[in-house]
């Protein structure tokens, strides 16, 4: 579940400077806080998306390759293939 924005913001090391054309420029406190707020919004949105959709990417990365799945079906049948796929689906359940 996504952390609160307060928790996320507190987790960052506050920015102190930026670099423009090779020159390091210190940030004002207002600039630093604006960047922290943007980082917080980005990370919160990522965590919300991860909660809703992360299982899709984790499943996709862990399923056997398509050739291996076809080979599994050919040699072992549909039920065996479904059992193999179910292991990953159960490992990363849909929320």
């Amino acid at each position: 579940m996504a952390d609160s924005k307060e928790t996320i913001k507190a987790s960052f090391t506050a920015p102190t400077h930026k670099v423009v054309d090779g020159v390091q420029i210190d940030l004002t406190s207002e600039e630093a806080d604006a960047i922290l707020d943007e980082w917080t919004d980005n990370e919160h949105a990522r965590q919300v998306d991860e909660d809703a959709n992360g299982y899709k990417f984790k499943r996709a990365a862990e399923y056997p390759s398509i050739p291996d799945q076809l080979d599994d079906i050919y040699h072992n049948g549909i039920d065996a293939w479904k059992a193999t796929i179910k292991v990953t689906k159960d490992k990363y359940p849909k929320p």
Partner: protein, 206 residues
């Protein structure tokens, strides 16, 4: 009727003049560049080179111009936070361009996965920043090579990034900036956290 001369060595008679063969000058082990079509505008010319440590963002102003049509950007970066994107925004005379004109399709391939390119992790049309990589690990070295085409020409600007990290994962990202803007600069930043590394920008023509 054809004829042929076979010798072991042809050397210049007059020092510093080289040897001329049907109008092409060979001098000191090389062909004079003026005799190779397009060579004068070929190759990469370094325009900017910046190291940075713990920076919130890195900006290059006035790096895109009419001098070069296309640009190659090499990036080494490590980011302070986990699960982040490496983003960019183009710049013009008004500063960073954060209008909803970026179209992005970015994906990564995991060296540990049997289906390494199943992950299209960042994509969208009309978003407010370009993306070079996503799902990036904390304090992990990443290297990217980015080509930016037609940056300073008043029509759409497209780019393509390819990269790798310390774990052998692959990163691919296609971006377009979908507006007729003569871009002059670019800013790189992480979606969250400070960045450390170096960036070089080269100009080239095709």
């Amino acid at each position: 009727m054809s004829s042929e001369i076979k010798v072991d060595t042809i050397s210049e008679k007059t020092s510093a003049n080289g040897v001329v063969i049907d109008g092409v000058t060979v001098k000191d082990g090389a062909i004079a560049s003026s005799f190779i079509s397009g060579l004068s505008s070929a190759g990469l010319t370094k325009l900017a080179d910046t190291d940075f440590s713990g920076a919130s963002d890195v900006t290059f102003d006035s790096v895109f111009s009419s001098t070069y049509r296309n640009y190659r950007i090499t990036i080494y970066t490590e980011n302070a936070n986990n699960n982040t994107e490496f983003n960019f925004r183009f710049r013009d005379g008004g500063g960073d361009i954060s209008a909803s004109n970026y179209n992005v399709a970015a994906m990564y391939g995991l060296s540990s996965s049997a289906t390494p390119f199943a992950n299209k992790v960042t994509y969208g049309q009309g978003v407010t920043a370009g993306a070079i990589a996503s799902g990036m690990g904390q304090n992990t070295p990443y290297n990217f090579s980015v080509d930016v085409w037609d940056a300073n020409i008043a029509h759409e600007t497209s780019s393509f990034a390819i990269g790798s990290n310390a774990n052998g994962h692959t990163f691919l990202a296609s971006n377009s900036y979908n507006a007729a803007t003569q871009l002059t600069g670019i800013k790189f930043f992480q979606s969250a956290g400070n960045i450390t590394g170096s960036i070089q920008i080269y100009g080239y023509d095709t």
